[in-house]
Symmetry: C2
Subunit: 208 residues, 2 copies
DNA sequence: ATCATAATGTTACTTTTTTCACAATAACAA
DNA sequence: TTGTTATTGTGAAAAAAGTAACATTATGAT
């Protein structure tokens, strides 16, 4: 199914909102509740659902449980997703320790680094030398890698892991990487996020 | 000036690309070089520039140095931006140690946490108790805060810092926060970034 | 059984963003 | 000086995203 990136991001947000509503004891939800929860209009919610053939009831809205099942299935969350982290520096280590992923069914299977001092083979979350990444990816069937290496090394590491079968990369290095056909790169650029915020705060100050 | 968020993000990317080109010894640049570097078309580059009244030379392209000056001025990078980090957990600590910000003229002035064990008042980058955040924001004139606190505390901390004069928040908690008029929130949601990547990798697998 | 109501699902409309195309023009060569 | 070329700057066209409106229909009340 061919779909806009924004639409999928909203799907994730709906999912998160639905879990919160479920925790609060709700069983069903209306498009405008969800709209409020994620900050869009009700029409967008219904349209997004219609794109994926998700339907509700003319008066009763949507059953949260069924909705979550469908969204989770679309997002591939009906099975555990194993990822690896390359780079055990500040950001990489923080990501490896971050608990937010596992409650989303995302398991960090291992970390990798070139610095021998960072290797820790017998940890619950092992940190392995980068030379072993190929075998690991192959044997564990890993498709997704998080790249948290210095800028200068990013492209090289991307080429390496793509040649080992990685299909998707979440890149934290603040530069645009060139990926081979068949490998998707999503960027998280913290500097740019901050710059953007600074810009809009400044604009707001000036127009005040 | 009223402008789309995407346009500002591209401006940041142009800037980064320009610095790289400058390092490589280039003095001038054409719209299609920049377009390649950030992954858009040349027309977008020229249009973005025209929005901000940035002009080049028919035939000669753009002088990188002048271009950088203008972009930096638009992005507010002609002066040091001081920010604070709230939450000294895994992500917060990693951000405080991250060197990427300072080379962008962004200085983390202090970290804050409620856990007394995390306080370290005499460090180069002090970590202070959250009670002191108000005085700090006021006395240092801080406008931007990075929020790296547990989900459950995020809204409360946002309300607190906004009441102290914070105008912009970069939020790492994976939920939508409600901010008062006059305070902008940008979200960095790592789970959603990964989910998104997983979705598109799965789609690519299926359609293969 | 019938009616009123409330929410969906979809179609048509509007706005925004992107792409395309090309006139204008600065630089350089002959 | 004249002509050629390369690149900008922009206006029009196309595509995408978002909004609004409303016909449809399930639900519950009378």
């Amino acid at each position: 199914m061919i779909t806009a990136k924004n639409c999928i991001i909203r799907l994730s947000r709906y999912k998160n909102a639905l879990y919160r509503l479920q925790t609060l004891g709700f069983v069903k939800v209306f498009s405008d509740n969800l709209a409020d929860a994620v900050g869009v209009t009700a029409a967008v919610v219904r349209k997004d659902f219609s794109v994926f053939g998700i339907s509700g009831n003319k008066k009763g809205g949507y059953q949260i449980e069924i909705l979550l099942e469908k969204i989770n299935s679309i997002l591939g969350k009906d099975r555990l997703q194993k990822v690896i982290v390359i780079g055990a520096g500040h950001i990489g280590s923080a990501l490896m320790r971050y608990r937010g992923f596992e409650k989303e069914g995302i398991k960090i299977a291992a970390g990798f680094d070139i610095d021998p001092a960072k290797i820790n083979r017998y940890n619950a979350l092992p940190i392995l030398p980068l030379e072993e990444v190929k075998d690991f990816i192959k044997s564990q069937g890993i498709k997704i890698a998080i790249l948290a290496v210095p800028d200068i090394a990013a492209q090289e590491v991307l080429d390496l892991v793509c040649s080992c079968g990685i299909k998707g990369i979440l890149n934290f290095a603040p530069l645009r990487l060139i990926s081979p056909e068949g490998c998707i790169v999503n960027n998280v650029n913290l500097e740019i996020e901050l710059e953007n915020l600074i810009y809009f705060v400044n604009v707001a100050e000036k127009t005040k």
